[in-house]
Structures are given as C-alpha cells and as structure tokens.
Amino acid sequence: MDDSAALFEQVTRPHFDRLYRLAWRLTGGRVEAEDLFQEVLIKAYAKLDHLVDIDQPGAWLARVMTNLFIDQQRRFKRQRLGTVAEGELHGDGFASIAGDLDPVADKVRYDRLRRLDTALQQLSDDHRLVVLLHDTEGYTLEEIHAMTGTPVGTCKSRLHRARQRLKEILLADGTFS
C-alpha cells in the first residue's frame, strides 16, 4: 500500500460503518448500497488532497454520498426499464436485511418490521429518507440539512408528516392498536 492509500484509509475508515448504513438507507438494498459506497470512495480518493484538510470528513463523505445518490436517482428514473413497478425495487432491500433476523425465533418482530418496511415504501422518497436518517440512524436535522441541502424547517415538517403517515398506515394494518 502506498502512502496515499494508507492516508486515505486512515481518514475514511472510521466513518465506514455509518457511511455504509447511510448508503443502505438511501438505496434500500445491499447491491445498490455497495455500489454507491464504492463510488463515493472513488470520488473521495480523487480528492484526497482536499479530504485531509477538512474538519469533518465523515460529514463531507455523507454529503458526497447523498448528492451522488440524488443525482443517480434523477438519471436512473429516466433510464429504468418500464417493465416492473417502481415499488418492487424495495423488496430486495428488505429481504436482504431480513436475512439478518431470525424469523423462527422472533416471528412477531419480523412481521412488525415487515409491516414497517411496507409502510415506509408508501412514503415519498423525501419523507422516507428523512425519517430513516433521523429516527433510525440518529442524524440531527442540521446534519440532514448539511447532507441534502434541504432547509432545516423543511426537514422538520417532512419528518412530522412522515411519522404521521406511518402511524396512520400502521394503525390501519393493525400493527398499532
């Protein structure tokens, strides 16, 4: 490993786990998440000189990832084959995540999470993203603003509306009583 590669690893590796989870939350599947993660690292490496000088490389990497994802989504939606409904894309993500669970030992939990996943897919992309980043990954509204460029007030209202909608769906399907 040359010096540049070693320096790059030193700067970026501490942020890998959180960055990987962000990729998964953004894309909804392992293959797409790893694809996105890889692309971010490649972009970051090409800007190593800049990366070593910034105060919060983790936040910078997250912002690069979010911007790249949004950009890919714009192109992706235009290029996607029209043979399968949009919503089916999310099945792979949850199936992959579900592989980490033990459905035999915890069938009730699995079913509730499955319903949550279904409810999340009914949200708009913007609403789903903010609720996942804030409520599952622990990003603050200010951090989400820094990552996405969306004003804090808008993030806050999206979070509120997303949670309201989730509660409505989970009430309707019997998850909440």
Binding site: M1, D2, A5, F8, E9, F16, D17, Y20, R21, W24, G29, R30, V31, E32, A33, E34, D35, F37, Q38, E39, L41, I42, K43, Y45, A46, L48, Q72, F76, R78, Q79, R80, L81, G82, T83, V84, L89, G91, D92, A95, S96, I97, A98, G99, D100, L101, P103, V104, L113, L116, D117, V131, L132, D135, T136, R163, L166, K167, L170, L171, T175
Partner: protein, 186 residues
C-alpha cells in the same frame, strides 16, 4: 399519556429496531483497494469508462451487470453471480443492463430452472417480452419465487437485431428461511 403519544413511542421503538445493515469485513478492504486504483486513475484523468460503469470497473459486487452491446465480445461475465432465496418467499433481484445507445424493441427472455418462477408467471419456465433500453444503465427487477427446494441457473437473454447476449445467475434455494444476497466471486 395520550393515544397519539403511545403511537409515537411505539413508532420510535419500531424504527429503532429497523434492521441495521452491516457490510462484511472483506467488502471494506475491497472498496478501499478499488478506490485507490480507480481514484488514482481519475486523478490522472485517464477515463476508460463513463458514469456508473466506473463502479463496475472497480469490481463492485452486483448480481448481474452487463456491458450489453458496448463493443465488447459477446461473452458473459467470467464469474457467475449467485443469489440465495428462501422457499416460497418472493425475492427481487436486480439485473442491470448497459447500452451505448437507446435500443427500441429489444427482446428479453428469462429462462428459469424447474421449481423457480417469476412472480406473476406461475408454472412458466421461460418468459419473453419486448422492452426498450435507454443509453446508459437500465435496471430490471425480477421477483423470483422458489416453489421447490432446488437450485439451478437463471438465464437472461437480451437480443436486438442480430446481436444477442445471454447472462447467467446461479439461484440457490434455502428451505429454512430468508438469506442475504451472496456476492459474486471477485
């Protein structure tokens, strides 16, 4: 505590329990290695590929990523990617097709091993339909259902005019429950 408060609390608990994806340890090492190789190439502005295909060049795991009609030889990827699906549980896999230019009226044929079906096409081992590709990356999600605890290969054949390319994905069926995607060997 009001009912709405209780639902808020229940939602918080559910969201915090939402599965936390984790990469396998080897993935980070591979990603770093690929980044140093590909990042250096970009620094030097020696582009061999454009856009998304750079990630492909970096060897990122994908179920199937095809350089269709891109001037490359008509051969499938050297390593057969694989996926494990659970018996009788629909599972969506994503096929990605790359095209250098828009392709109208392409024919896509998916051939399935006995015991594995496309969701919505029960009992059919081969499904063909006409589709169009845009220039760049095209994604085709296929939802598979295993009706028998068998394994076999799925073939996706895309043809346009006189050109054709066939790709292969290994499908294994886990009779006990859902499993994560297996990465193709690097």
């Amino acid at each position: 505590m009001t009912m709405d408060d209780k639902h808020d609390q229940a939602l918080d608990e559910l969201l915090k329990d939402y599965p936390m994806p984790q990469a396998d340890a080897a993935f980070y090492d591979r990603a770093l290695l690929n980044a140093s190789r590909e990042g250096t190439r970009r620094q030097r502005k020696r582009w061999l590929f454009a856009g998304f295909s750079s990630a492909v060049a970096a060897g990122v795991a994908a179920l199937a990523l095809f350089g269709l009609f891109s001037g490359s030889p008509d051969t499938a990827t050297s390593a057969i990617p694989g996926v494990t699906i659970a018996l009788e549980q629909p599972r969506t896999i994503n096929l990605m097709f790359g095209a250098n230019e828009p392709l109208a009226n392409a024919m896509l044929t998916v051939s399935l091993p006995d015991g594995i079906e496309l969701d919505g096409f029960p009992g059919q081992t081969e499904v063909t339909w006409e589709t169009s590709l845009s220039a760049g990356r095209n994604l085709l999600p296929l939802t598979l259902v295993a009706v028998k605890p068998v394994s076999g290969d799925l073939f996706a054949r895309l043809s346009h005019n006189n050109r054709q390319q066939t790709f292969q994905i290994r499908i294994d069926v886990d009779p006990t429950g859902p499993a994560p995607i297996e990465e193709s060997p690097s």
